[in-house]
């Protein structure tokens, strides 16, 4: 069997089905986030010192943490916070990365290549470090914005490199005197209509990973408000003996990223 025959892409029908599963998963997560205050058994941060580190039971299906907080309620609140912040960050990444890259590629060549060079330097730094730097320069309240901006250079490069400024239809449009702004508007509308869903899901997966990792390192959510990354960071002290304190927030986080990855149609091994 040959190397290239061995590594064959998935059939288109399977890819569509997998994407549909991803979007359904994201839809269910969105509903859960929307109803999180209603579904949670306790308000965020409600502690009970008589119920410290109790394992999962009927009363507390996800157990309790070191302060006696119900992990099911805390996970739902953390998921809501992570989801809302990641959505905002993904929107920033799409506008400042994808949209800006598509426009920049169509600017006069020297300017376009100059911009690509600058963003290329930023893309050579791990997005996580950029986000930590941006959050350190501002405040933890700006973490979702910082996550979006940190992911933007890679999104910019991808969008920039995807544009073919010498495509036949662009040549034809120029030859027939169609204004550059009309061509740009038409191209952007076409590209975003074709790829918006995939780009949005990819950005959501990337921002969720960056945001939660930064929170884990202490550069995300500000206590007492906690997202999933911060919940896992707090659980680090106890999880070796009380696995449930980290397992459920981590499971929720993996589920969000997994659904976003599937919705984006990412290959196994591909980082968003």
């Amino acid at each position: 069997m040959s190397v290239t025959q061995t590594i064959e892409p998935s059939p288109p029908l399977l890819r569509s089905a997998v994407r549909a599963v991803g979007w359904c998963g994201l839809g269910l997560i969105a509903v859960t986030v929307f109803l999180s205050d209603f579904l949670a058994r306790a308000p965020a941060g409600a502690a009970d010192s008589t119920m410290m580190l109790t394992p999962p039971s009927d009363a507390h299906p996800f157990g309790t943490d070191l302060l006696g907080r119900d992990m099911l309620s805390e996970t739902l609140h953390g998921l809501a916070r992570t989801g809302v912040h990641a959505l905002f960050g993904a929107a920033v990444a799409i506008v400042c990365g994808g949209l800006f890259g598509s426009i920049a590629a169509r600017l006069p060549r020297p300017l376009a290549l100059g911009l690509r060079g600058v963003l290329g330097v930023l893309a050579a730094v791990p997005a996580l470090l950029l986000m930590i730097l941006l959050t350190g320069l501002t405040a933890r309240g700006y973490a979702p914005l910082a996550a979006g901006l940190a992911v933007a250079p890679l999104a910019f490069i991808r969008a920039f490199d995807r544009v073919d400024v010498n495509s036949p239809h662009a040549e034809y449009a120029r030859a027939t005197g169609i204004p550059a702004t009309t061509l740009l508007r038409r191209d952007l509308t076409h590209e975003f209509r074709a790829m918006m869903a995939s780009v949005a899901a990819r950005a959501l997966a990337a921002v969720t990973i960056i945001l939660s990792t930064a929170s884990f390192l202490g550069f995300g959510a500000e206590p007492p408000a906690r997202d999933l990354g911060l919940m896992i960071a707090v659980a680090k002290a106890t999880y070796l003996a009380a696995w449930w304190t980290a397992a459920f927030p981590a499971g929720a986080l993996v589920l969000v990223v997994l659904c976003a990855r599937l919705a984006a149609g990412l290959e196994e091994g591909e980082r968003p």
Binding site: V3, T6, V121, I132
Partner: protein
């Protein structure tokens, strides 16, 4: 080949200069100056000149030279990075091929998707939990830095960070391999060579494998980024005192000279990996071209 080499060298130099510029801007944040944009630009220009002279300033916390601090903290990070990279290639290449076989791919696809959807810090914590509760190994997750351990325990403690970085790198290697193989699969030379009477195995060995390895080498920058990100998180999770751990603490303590030099080194590593990878990729691709 010469013009390609010149282009790559220019690209490397421009990239590194860009990284120096960004580092100078970051370093200028910590400089005492009057408020406003112009004084900041003047401070950034001054820092840039100092950087080009090899003066990276001093740590705002310890007062020692930033280069000295980096010289102390970078080797453990580079060691972890190199060990992780070796594991990534050793595991990523064979597993990438094995998991791509028709039946094996279908069976392992959901597992692979879950693994690659797992943030590195979750993977590191999960590995540590497994090591403690299943293998009864000591782990450094909740251990103070510099705690006394026996040589055997030290080996076990060192293994987990390497495995964590290696797995993150293996995912990147596997992806690069898959992408390169799918590109090589679309090449038109295969039918032509068959009609010339060459056997399938020979075509694969002499022409296709170099093309696939060339594609893998060309993705070296991407693989380096994955390894660097994983190293940052792993050092934090496993309490390793390296440059990546220092970066996180320096941002928290607003020690901008240290932040600037670490960022510069990391960006430089990515550019160098990209440079070497592209040249190696080009050499391999021309070797495998019929």
């Amino acid at each position: 080949m010469r013009s390609f080499l010149v282009r790559q060298i220019v690209s490397l130099v421009v990239g590194v200069l860009g990284a120096v510029l960004i580092a100078a801007v970051i370093s200028a944040i910590g400089e005492p100056r009057a408020p406003g944009v112009w004084p900041f630009l003047v401070a950034a220009g001054s820092r840039l000149v100092h950087f080009l002279e090899g003066d990276f300033g001093q740590s705002a916390i310890t007062g020692t030279s930033a280069l000295h601090v980096l010289g102390h903290r970078l080797p453990p990070t580079l060691t972890l990075l190199a060990e992780g990279a070796a594991l990534a290639v050793a595991v990523g290449l064979p597993l990438g091929l094995l998991f791509s076989l028709g039946a094996a791919r279908r069976a392992t696809a959901p597992l692979m998707q879950i693994i690659t959807a797992t943030p590195v810090f979750c993977a590191g914590l999960a590995l540590a939990w497994g090591a403690v509760n299943l293998l009864h190994w000591p782990v450094s997750v909740n251990m103070p830095v510099g705690a006394a351990v026996s040589p055997d325990e030290a080996l076990q403690i060192d293994a987990l960070p390497i495995v964590t970085v290696g797995l993150a790198g293996a995912a990147a290697v596997q992806l690069a391999l898959r992408r390169a193989a799918s590109q090589a699969g679309g090449e038109s030379f295969r039918a032509g060579l068959k009609s010339l009477g060459l056997g399938g195995f020979e075509i694969e060995r002499v022409f296709v494998v170099p093309q696939v390895l060339a594609g893998l080498a060309a993705s070296a920058g991407e693989i380096m980024l994955a390894l660097l990100s994983a190293t940052v998180v792993t050092e934090w999770v496993f309490h390793r005192s390296g440059a990546a751990d220092l970066f996180v603490k320096s941002v928290a303590l607003a020690d901008w000279n240290i932040v600037a030099i670490i960022l510069f080194v990391f960006a430089g590593l990515t550019f160098v990996a990209e440079f070497i990878g592209r040249i190696a990729g080009r050499a391999l691709a021309s070797e495998g071209r019929p």
